[in-house]
Each structure stands twice: as C-alpha cells, then as structure tokens.
Symmetry: C2
DNA sequence: CCTACCGATCGGTAGG
DNA sequence: CCTACCGATCGGTAGG
C-alpha cells in the first residue's frame, strides 16, 4: 500500500533537513552547497532545493530544526524537574551532555550559526538573534525562580544567564577545537558557580 | 624616486592581508573569495593570489596577521605592567576594549576562525588550535604568577584561563549578534571574579 | 522527484 | 602586476 504523496513529501523534507543540519554544523550554515547535499542524499539538486525554493529558506528551516533538537536535548529534561535549584542543575547537566555527545557532528549548531551570520544582515541573522535572546531570557528566568524560592542567593539573573551561555561556548570550543574532554568538568564548575548552585 | 620592487611587493602583500583580515572577520576565513578581494582592492584576481600562491596560504598568513593584531592590542599593554594582579587586570581591560572597539569589523577574528575550522582538518585548523592553546597557556601562567606573588588566592589557573577565554567569546557574541554594549560590563565582572581579582 | 540546462562565479594558471 | 583564459561548481529554473 503506497504512502500518500503528502506523507512522502514530508518524509523527503525531513531527510533533507537532517542532512543540512549535520553538514552545517561542520561547514557552517552558509558553507553548505546544494550540490554536495544532493550527492550525499543520492538526489538531484532540483530535488533538494525544490521543496524549499531557495537556499535561504533551506537555511531558515534548518535553523528551526536545530533549535528544536536543542530544546528536546536541553530544555525538555530540565522542564521535567521542579522550577528552582533542581531544574537549574538539570539544565546544566543536559546542556553539558548535549555539548559532549555531541548532538551535531561539528558541535553546537547555534554557536556556529551565530559566528557565521552575526556580522551579516538578513533573515538568517535575525532568526539566530531571536533564538539566542529567547534562550538567554529563559535561562535568566530559571535563575530568578530559584532566587525567589530562596534556594540560591547572591546572583544576578541576567549576569548568571550571560555567564552560563558564555561558558557553554567555551566548552564547545574546547571540545571541538582542542578535543579537550576535561572541558565538561571545567564547564560544570563554572556554570554551577555562576548560578549560585555551588560556592566555588 | 621609485621604491624598490621588493619594497613595493611587501606593501602590496600588506594591503592584501589587511583586506583579507577585515573580510574574513565578517564572512569567515573560508567565506572570502579571491574575486571579491580583487574587486575591493582594485586589483586583478591574479594580482591578489599571485603573492601567496593559493587560497590556503592566504588564509594562513591572514591568521598570522590577525594573531599579531591581537597580541599588539591585548598582550602588549598587559606586558607593560608588572606580572601579577596589575598585569591580569590590564589584560582583562585590554581584551574587553579589543572586543568593544572592535578591532575587526566582524568581531573577534579567532573566535570566527575557530568556529569556522574546528570541525575541518587541515593546516588552518592546526594553526588556529596552536594559537588558542598558546594563548590559554599564557593566561594560566599570568594567573599562576599572581597566585605565587600572593596577590590573589582561591583560584585554579587552568580553570580561570578557561573561564576568561569563554567569557571573551560570550562578550564577542553579545556585541556582534545582539549589539549589546552592556556585555562589556558583564564580561568585566565575570572575568574579574574568575581570576580572583574581585570577590563577586 | 528527474534530466538538462542557464549565467555567474569559483580558485587558479599561462604568458607577458 | 595585468589580460585572457581553464575546468569545475555555484544557486536556481524549465519542462516533464
């Protein structure tokens, strides 16, 4: 029994997006080419670009897909914990293992995309910026919740969110560029101290 | 009186490298093209690539040039201070103003190059790795000097070097992607605490 | 989803 | 340092 063509089309889009996300984590979201994607997927270039219309649309959809993977890997395990100390600790652990695994062959997709597009105006840059802002606001909110419940003290939520985000970038660089697995433990210490989970 | 051709050739190389470093900070070290460089320099493509032989050589020399600018901007002002607390504080201030100025139109060149090449083997990757390691070792050494002179305490030199480096990446991203000038002050607080210069 | 094709641009070379 | 050129590949389209 043949699948509906709509279902098949959706499946094709999914497999293309998966390949884009993997390749972009290595070569950058702008470094992908339709020809290379087509070759790796065993498809024609027209078949790759057709469902998306343009390279920029493909980039935007790949960015959305990467954000969804990040959410599933990092946010969802944390969201299962009660707000406060427990959620903050879970979030840090989930983030570190997302970076250590790593979820994408070339390391953190959003760090790569931010570095690639931060100086180039356009829809992709705007989307990266929006995702980054939203995440940093979420982080600050979780720190604030832990402060309000009296579980941590002596930290500024925005400052802590900024630091945890920066440390994640440092861990990613250490793993990807230096193949330094110790960076996970260094990152843990730094993130826990920045959020007031540990004293030092 | 005509300049010697050797002198003229050196001048040409310099102007090409300056353009490469600027463009690469925006589009990535792999995103530059000989054609665009030639157009911006008012030269032919052969004139741009000739003195270097290949795009990879040009990338390697641009990387060396960017490292020299970083050294002049960040290391040299710090090196004029006595080792220990004073030098550490000067280094942090010099680094923050290097990022805030910014020295390259697209922000920190080495962060950009690391993100671009960390997942792609080759000479460029090796060079980025070497420069990064050397710098982190230098940072750790300066923290150690301040500990040994008794000016700071309670910090691990490698941990502090890792954190300061990560915070610099966070400041760069905040400035470039979010146009957030407050990041300099957040970075200062985080770097000073990570190195034991401030308590909080 | 394919083949066949478009004009533009890629990195690089020959020859001067 | 230039002009003129190389084969390869780029993103994308027409037509089926």
């Amino acid at each position: 029994m043949p699948r509906s063509s709509r279902e098949q089309a959706a499946r094709t889009r999914e497999s293309i997006l998966g390949e884009v996300v993997d390749e972009a984590s290595v070569s950058g979201l702008d470094g992908i080419t339709i020809g290379t994607l087509a070759e790796h997927l065993g498809m024609s270039k027209a078949g790759v670009i057709g469902p998306f219309g343009s390279k920029e649309s493909l980039q935007l959809e790949a960015l959305g897909r990467a954000a969804a993977i990040f959410r599933a890997d990092v946010w969802e395990p944390a969201a299962r914990e009660p707000a406060g100390r427990a959620r903050l600790a879970a979030l840090i652990e989930a983030w570190l293992s997302h970076l250590a695994r790593p979820a994408f062959p070339g390391g953190c997709f959003l760090t790569q995309a931010a570095a690639d597009f931060d100086a180039r105006p356009g829809e992709v840059r705007d989307a990266v910026q929006r995702i980054g802002r939203l995440w940093e606001r979420t982080l600050a909110g979780e720190v604030r919740a832990a402060i309000e419940s009296g579980e941590i003290a002596g930290v500024d939520p925005e400052q802590a969110a900024f630091e945890v985000n920066a440390i994640a970038q440092g861990v990613n660089q250490a793993i990807q560029l230096h193949r330094d697995r110790d960076a996970v433990e260094r990152g843990r210490r730094a993130m826990r101290r920045a959020t007031g989970l540990s004293d030092r």
